[in-house]
C-alpha cells in the first residue's frame, strides 16, 4: 500500500472519529436539553397548577376541572393529584402514539419524561401532591429532526473534510510522487534528473541524492558510449579511405551467411590494385593516399543505388564490395563502370597503366556458405582475374535445395494452411549462476512422423518463395493462442526477423494478438529484434517498444556487432540482453569490450554469446567476462 493511501486512510479515520464524536456529543446534548425541557415544562405546570388548586379550598370537582383545563391545553402524558394518604384523587392520562418516527429511533433514543411534583394545599391544610409528566411525542419529533439535521451536516462536513484532506495530502506528498517517479525510472534504467527540488527537507535530501546517483550512472553510460564509438571507429574504419575494414567485413558476414538471411544469395566483388609498391614510390605517401581515397570514392559512387552494399578495404591493395541479393550480371555492370573510372584516375596521374591496374574478381555466394568458404572462393576469383587479366566470375558450389522450388513452396503452403509448425526450445545458460536463463524458440516444420524439416532447411526456400511473413504470422498465432500446449518453462525468447517486423501489417497483427492473449500468457516472453533494425532508433522500433512495454514483454537484441554510430539506442530501447556471435566478442579488444560493458552494466543489459560450439571457446569468452551462452555448447553444460 502506498504511503499516500496509508496517511489518507489514517487521517480519514481520525477525521471521521472526531466528526462522529462531535455528532454523538451534539445529539446527546440535544437529547438532554429536550428531556430537561420536558421536566421544566412539567415542573412549571405543577407549581402554577398547585397554586391554582390551592384556591379551590379542597373542592375536588373544581380541582378536576382545573386539571382538565390544563391537561387539554398542553402536552402532558399525565397529571395526577394524590391526597396525603397516597390515594389518587384525580387522574388524567393519555396514551400517545408517536407518528412519523422510525421504530429504531424510538428504541435508540428512549426518552423518559421525569415526573415533576408540587404540594397542593387549601389554606393551612395539605390537600396532597400534584404529579405532572410531559408528553414525549413532541420531544421525539424534535429530536428526530435534530438527528436528521446532524446527519446531513455530518455528511456534508465529512465530505468536505475528506476532499480538503485529500487535496492537502496530495499537495504535501506531491514531491514524494516525483521522487517515486524518479525511483521507478531508475529501476527502468531511465536517467531522469529532478529539476524541481522539493521544499520539505527530507524530500529535498532524497531528490538531491537520487539526482546525484542518476547523474553518475548517466555519466558512466555516456563515457562508455563515447569510448565505444571511438574504439569502433578505430576498429572498423580504414583510416586512409574511411571505408570499412576487414574486421567489420568479417563481423558483418554472419548476418548474410545464415539460413534465414533476407537475401538467399549475393555477390562479393574483389578489387585489387596491382603494383601498389611501385605506385607508392612514384606518387609519394601523400599523393598515394589521395589516390586511394579517390578509388574508394569510385566504389562508393558506383554502389550508392544498391541496397545493403558493404564496401571494405581488406588490406593494403584489396577491396571487397559485398552486394547481398544481387546477381553476377549486375555486379559485372558495376565493375565495368568502376574499372573505367579507375583507369581515368590512373591516367590523370600519369601512371603506367600496364603496371598500375585494377584486377576484379566476382564471387557469387549463397547464404549457406561459410565465412572461410566465401573468403577462399573470393581469393580464388581474384587470382583467376589476375591470371586472365579480365574480370572473373566464380560461383558457389554449395546448393540450397534438396527439392525443387515448387516442391518446397507446396510443402510450406501446406504447413501454413494446416498449422504444421512446432516450437523447438534451445537453452541459454547462465554459467555464473549455473542456471537456465531462458529458452530461445526455433521452429520445425513437421508434416508427419517421417517428414520433418528444421528451420535451417525450410527457411531459405521459404524466403525465396516470399513466404517468411506468412510463416511468422502462423507461429505468432501458435505462440499466443495455444502457448500452454507446447511451452512449459517460465521464460521464452522468440526471434523476429527484420523482414517480418517491417512488413506493413505486422505491427497491427502483433498488437491485436497481444491485446487478446498477452494477459493469459503462462510464461515471460522476450521478443528478439535485430540490431540492424533497433540501432537506427526509428519510429517503427519505438512503436514496437511502446507496444511491448504495454504488455510487459521484454525486448532482446540479436546480431549485435556494435556497428552503430551512437549507443544511446540501448538506453532508449532498454533490452534485457544483447546477443552477438561468440567470435565477435572474441575478436573485440579489451578497451572496446570494457566500454561495451560500461554501457550495458549502467543500464542493466546482459551480454549473451551465441553460436558457441565448444568448451574451449566458452572458456575464452568467460575470460572476457561473458557468462551467458547459447549454442551447441549448452548441451554439454551442467546446471
Amino acid at each position: 500500500m502506498t504511503l499516500f493511501k496509508q496517511i489518507a486512510i489514517m487521517l480519514s479515520i481520525f477525521l471521521l472519529i472526531i466528526l462522529a464524536t462531535v455528532l454523538t456529543l451534539n445529539f446527546q446534548s440535544a437529547n438532554k436539553s429536550v428531556q430537561d425541557r420536558l421536566y421544566e415544562d412539567a415542573k412549571n405546570t405543577a407549581t402554577s397548577l398547585s397554586l391554582s388548586l390551592g384556591n379551590a379550598n379542597g373542592d375536588i370537582s373544581i380541582m378536576s376541572t382545573m386539571i382538565n383545563a390544563n391537561f387539554d391545553s398542553g402536552y402532558y402524558r399525565n397529571i395526577i393529584l394524590i391526597d396525603v394518604d397516597k390515594k389518587v384523587l384525580y387522574k388524567r392520562e393519555t396514551e400517545t402514539e408517536v407518528l412519523n418516527i422510525p421504530k429504531w429511533f424510538l428504541n435508540f433514543v428512549n426518552i423518559k419524561a421525569p415526573i415533576a411534583n408540587a404540594n397542593v394545599s387549601a389554606g393551612w391544610s395539605q390537600v396532597g401532591i400534584l404529579n405532572v409528566q410531559s408528553d414525549t411525542t413532541y420531544a421525539y419529533k424534535q429530536l428526530y429532526s435534530i438527528f436528521k439535521s446532524l446527519l446531513i451536516s455530518f455528511a456534508i462536513i465529512s465530505s468536505l473534510g475528506l476532499i480538503i484532506l485529500n487535496l492537502l495530502i496530495h499537495t504535501i506528498l506531491r514531491p514524494l510522487k516525483e521522487v517515486q517517479k524518479q525511483a521507478a525510472a531508475v529501476i527502468k534504467n531511465e536517467f531522469i534528473i529532478q529539476k524541481n527540488i522539493p521544499y520539505t527537507k527530507e524530500f529535498k535530501d532524497v531528490v538531491l541524492g537520487m539526482n546525484n546517483m542518476v547523474s553518475k550512472v548517466k555519466a558512466m553510460f555516456d563515457k562508455g558510449n563515447e569510448e565505444l564509438k571511438a574504439h569502433k571507429e578505430l576498429e572498423y574504419i580504414d583510416q586512409v579511405t574511411k571505408l570499412k575494414n576487414r574486421k567489420y567485413f568479417i563481423d558483418k558476414l554472419p548476418s548474410y551467411l545464415k539460413i534465414d538471411a533476407s537475401s538467399k544469395s549475393g555477390v562479393n566483388i574483389i578489387l585489387s590494385i596491382n603494383e601498389m609498391g611501385e605506385t607508392n614510390k612514384k606518387l609519394g605517401h601523400s599523393k598515394m593516399n589521395t589516390f586511394l581515397v579517390n578509388i574508394a570514392n569510385i566504389f562508393t559512387q558506383n554502389t550508392k543505388n544498391t541496397q545493403d552494399a558493404v564496401i571494405s578495404r581488406m588490406n593494403g591493395t584489396d577491396f571487397f564490395i559485398l552486394l547481398p541479393g544481387y546477381s553476377s550480371d549486375i555486379a559485372l555492370e558495376i565493375t565495368k563502370s568502376i574499372k573505367t573510372s579507375c583507369i581515368d584516375i590512373i591516367e590523370s596521374l600519369n601512371l603506367d597503366e600496364e603496371k598500375t591496374s585494377i584486377s576484379i574478381g566476382i564471387y557469387e555466394y549463397i547464404c549457406t556458405d561459410t565465412i572461410p568458404q566465401l573468403l577462399s572462393r573470393s581469393d580464388n576469383a581474384l587470382a583467376q582475374a589476375k591470371f586472365s587479366h579480365s574480370t572473373y566470375i566464380e560461383k558457389s558450389s554449395n546448393s540450397l535445395e534438396v527439392m525443387g522450388k515448387e516442391a518446397w513452396k507446396s510443402i510450406i503452403n501446406l504447413a501454413i494452411e494446416k498449422n504444421k509448425f512446432y516450437f523447438v526450445p534451445w537453452s541459454v545458460i547462465d554459467t555464473k549462476n549455473k542456471k537456465l536463463d531462458h529458452h530461445v524458440l526455433s521452429i520445425n516444420l513437421t508434416i508427419d512422423k517421417n517428414t520433418s524439416y528444421s528451420y535451417a532447411q525450410f527457411m531459405a526456400p521459404a524466403i525465396e518463395a516470399g513466404l517468411s511473413y506468412k510463416i511468422y504470422k502462423n507461429i505468432l498465432n501458435l505462440l499466443f493462442k495455444t502457448p500452454q500446449i507446447v511451452l512449459k518453462a517460465k521464460k521464452y525468447a522468440l526471434r523476429l526477423p527484420l523482414e517480418y517486423l517491417e512488413a506493413t501489417n505486422s505491427y497491427n497483427e502483433i498488437s491485436s494478438l497481444l491485446q487478446t492473449n498477452a494477459a493469459t500468457l503462462p510464461f515471460k516472453l522476450i521478443i528478439e529484434l535485430p540490431d540492424k533494425l533497433v540501432n537506427n532508433n526509428s519510429a517503427l522500433i519505438m512503436q514496437y517498444k511502446k507496444l511491448f512495454d504495454m504488455y510487459n514483454i521484454d525486448i532482446g537484441i540479436f546480431e549485435f556487432i556494435g556497428e552503430s554510430d551512437d549507443y544511446q539506442y540501448l538506453q532508449n530501447i532498454k533490452p534485457v540482453y544483447i546477443k552477438g556471435e561468440g567470435n565477435y566478442f572474441l575478436t573485440q579488444n579489451t578497451q572496446s569490450l570494457s566500454a561495451l560493458r560500461l554501457i550495458t552494466d549502467s543500464v542493466d543489459i546482459s551480454i549473451i554469446a551465441v553460436g558457441v560450439v565448444d568448451i574451449k571457446i566458452l572458456k575464452e569468452l568467460q575470460k572476457k567476462g561473458i557468462e551467458l551462452f547459447q549454442g551447441k555448447v549448452t548441451e554439454d553444460l551442467e546446471i
Binding site: 421544566e40 397554586l51 390551592g54 396525603v84 411534583n117 404540594n119 394545599s121 389554606g123 401532591i129
Partner: protein, 207 residues
C-alpha cells in the same frame, strides 16, 4: 474473674457515650473558617447553637421546635438588599448565624436544617409562603404538621412564639413546599430554583 468483669464494665462506660455522641452541627474545620471570616463572636454564637441543640436532642418534637425557634429568633432581621446586596437571597445557616443577620427565608432555612439535625422528620416541615396582613407584605414561615391532616404550627420570626395556624390571623397562606418532596426528583434534576441553589451552597459549605 471479677476483676476482668469490672474492667470490661469500665471500658464500656468510657466508650458507650462516645459511640452515642452525635456529630456536631457545625464541624470544626468549618467552624474555624467561620471564625476566620467573621469574628470570635460568631464562634460564640455557634457554640451556643451547639449547646442548645445538644440540650434539645433528647426532647420531643414540640420542645425541639421551641428551643430552635427561640434560638434563631434572637438573630437580628436585615433585608437581603442590605445584607447581601441582592433583592432575594436564601442564606445557608452558617451565613445566617455568621453574619447574625437575615430575612424571613433565612430564619426558616436555619430552623429547618437545625430541626432536621435534631431528628424531626423532614416530611413534617414545610416552607410556607404567606402574606402578612399586618405588614401587608409577602413573608415566609416554617410550618410543622404533626400529621398530614393536622393543623400546622407556625414558626415565625415576626411573632417569636409558636402558634397553631388558626391563631395566626395576621398570616394568609399562599403556597407551601416540602424539601423532601422536592428531593424526590433526584440530584441531577432541577426542582425549585431557590431550593436547588440553597442545596448547592450547603454542599459547598458556603459561609
Amino acid at each position: 474473674m471479677l476483676k476482668s468483669k469490672v474492667f470490661i464494665l469500665l471500658l464500656s462506660l468510657f466508650f458507650v457515650p462516645l459511640a452515642l455522641a452525635k456529630e456536631p452541627y457545625v464541624e470544626k474545620p468549618l467552624l474555624d473558617k467561620i471564625v476566620t471570616k467573621y469574628n470570635v463572636f460568631a464562634k460564640k454564637r455557634f457554640f451556643y447553637l451547639q449547646k442548645s441543640l445538644t440540650l434539645a436532642n433528647e426532647k420531643n418534637d414540640l420542645e425541639k421546635l421551641e428551643i430552635v425557634n427561640n434560638f434563631f429568633n434572637e438573630v437580628k432581621y436585615l433585608t437581603d438588599i442590605i445584607n447581601y446586596k441582592k433583592s432575594d437571597y436564601w442564606a445557608t445557616p452558617w451565613e445566617f448565624l455568621g453574619k447574625d443577620r437575615g430575612d424571613c427565608e433565612d430564619y426558616v432555612i436555619s430552623k429547618y436544617f437545625a430541626l432536621k439535625y435534631l431528628g424531626v422528620e423532614p416530611k413534617k416541615l414545610f416552607f410556607t409562603y404567606v402574606k402578612s396582613t399586618k405588614f401587608k407584605a409577602p413573608h415566609m414561615v416554617l410550618t410543622y404538621f404533626e400529621t398530614p391532616k393536622s393543623e400546622p404550627l407556625i414558626l415565625d420570626n415576626y411573632n417569636r412564639k409558636i402558634f397553631p395556624a388558626s391563631k395566626r390571623k395576621d398570616l394568609t397562606p399562599i403556597y407551601h413546599f416540602n424539601g423532601d418532596v422536592l428531593n424526590q426528583i433526584g440530584k441531577a434534576k432541577k426542582s425549585h430554583k431557590k431550593w436547588d441553589q440553597l442545596k448547592l451552597n450547603m454542599k459547598r459549605k458556603k459561609i
